[in-house]
Symmetry: C2
Subunit: 248 residues, 2 copies
DNA sequence: TAAATCTAACGCTAAAGAGTGTGAACTTGT
DNA sequence: ACAAGTTCACACTCTTTAGCGTTAGATTTA
């Protein structure tokens, strides 16, 4: 339903009800949900699409996008992690995919500011979990702000895994200030830094520069990334690992 | 079933199966659960009660104990909190009861290291949630350690609500080192400190002193506390509030 | 004021989940 | 080696919960 609103730009309630063969009440409920997630805007009689820049940084959307690619990347990244070492990762959905696979390389010390990952890893035996505190941001389901940056700076981990929303030939980018600050702090406190991005992020830019690509020791992309984009990164002396996507 | 093991001290599997009219398999499963919660110890053929000092600091047990009293205390404590102010609380079940009522005094800034409270308050609108990071302790379901103490020390809140496992005429006590350090840090960073304890904690001691009672501005106990105990505290110039227990 | 739209409350249905028992395979102790 | 004890995998039941529609009442718009 969200996709339909996106395509049309603006749709009326009754129209949506007919298309999906459900009652108007259901349309209301679903749109309320989508609105609370920041995906669409409701007005009397219908709903319209949200500006793309807004919802791209939205969890509900990010979770459903490029799942196969993220899964592939996650499997590869986990292969880079040695049992017994320490890992820090940010509040990206790619990192969450990595978290789901961390059980395979226990024992492990895991550090994150991502509440969903904390929920996921808290009950897992063999994982020593360190949470990064800070102010809770519902849109990201994570802890950010000064407190978080301070907490990151007080730590040092063997591997840091971060993902950003855009990557050019020279820099990694992200659209939000608070997140940029946390990611930067993470990069500074990791012995080895991994940038994990799916192919849709390549050759794009966003508002804030997070760091030059030199800050990362390994860049992991999925196999759907265009050859030339990968080659351009390699030409700049970066190590680029390609994770094979299996699912459709 | 836990109670029966406690009373008997030690019971056999088959015996338990007969008493509760369930299969031996179910007894196994339930005891595994209780054991993972630290309530009992399993051995070949049966199970025995855990040393009381161990399971008293155990969440699963604490959650079921004195719920009516905690509920009363929580209602009273929430009445002490002004909308718009900031509150910090620890990983005690009493504090959790307080957290459930915090919705009533929004808007509010809430600070805690208790994961269950974070889960509870994260989706609540009107509450600005700050998490205290640190190492995750499954037995308490909270974040402790150096990182947590540091995070606490970097903050300052209007009200701090703390509960301890034992309170004498002069001091508050707790049996665990890491928790003591966090509670102390909390006391130091609150403008006004509230000690919330049910009547079973009075006139008792535990291994570590948390702080002298002078460190607290208000002590809240439930109405099942003996008069003379309350009076003794008041004689020492402490403000003691009594919360009326309603339920049986 | 009338029509359209929205919200709240209740009941229904289908799917998910927790809890339990059975029988087979495996461990442990005597 | 045997028996008692334990674990595993599967199937079954019961409870819980999520999602939808209907109706009725409130709100908004023309």
């Amino acid at each position: 339903m969200a996709e339909h609103v996106m395509r049309q730009g603006s749709v009326s309630m009754t129209e949506l009800a007919e298309i999906f063969e459900v009652s108007v009440m259901t349309v209301h409920r679903d749109l309320d949900l989508l609105e609370s997630q920041g995906m669409v805007r409701k007005f009397r009689g219908g709903a319209s699409a949200q500006a793309s820049s807004v919802f791209e940084s939205n969890i509900a959307y990010r979770k459903t996008a490029q799942t196969a690619e993220k899964e592939a990347i996650a499997r590869h990244v986990v292969g880079l992690i040695e049992p017994g070492s320490s890992v820090m990762f940010d509040d990206s959905t790619t990192a969450l995919a990595v978290a789901r696979h961390l059980v395979e390389v226990t024992p492990l010390t895991v550090v994150t500011n991502f509440l969903e990952a904390i929920r996921l890893l808290a009950p897992v035996p063999g994982i020593r979990l360190m949470a990064l505190g800070g102010e809770y941001y519902p849109t990201h389901d994570s802890f950010l702000g000064v407190a978080c940056v301070d907490a990151v700076e007080a730590m040092n981990t063997d591997t840091v895994v971060v993902s950003t929303s855009a990557v050019s030939d020279r820099h990694a980018f992200h659209q939000e200030q608070e997140i940029v600050l946390v990611k930067r702090a993470m990069l500074a406190s990791g012995t080895r830094c991994v940038l994990a991005v799916d192919h849709t992020k390549l050759d794009r830019v966003a508002l804030h520069r997070v760091a030059p690509l030199e800050a990362f020791d390994i860049i992991v992309v999925d196999s759907r990334a265009p050859e030339e984009a990968i080659q351009r990164l390699r030409d700049r002396h970066h190590r680029v690992d390609v994770a094979e996507v299996t699912e459709p």
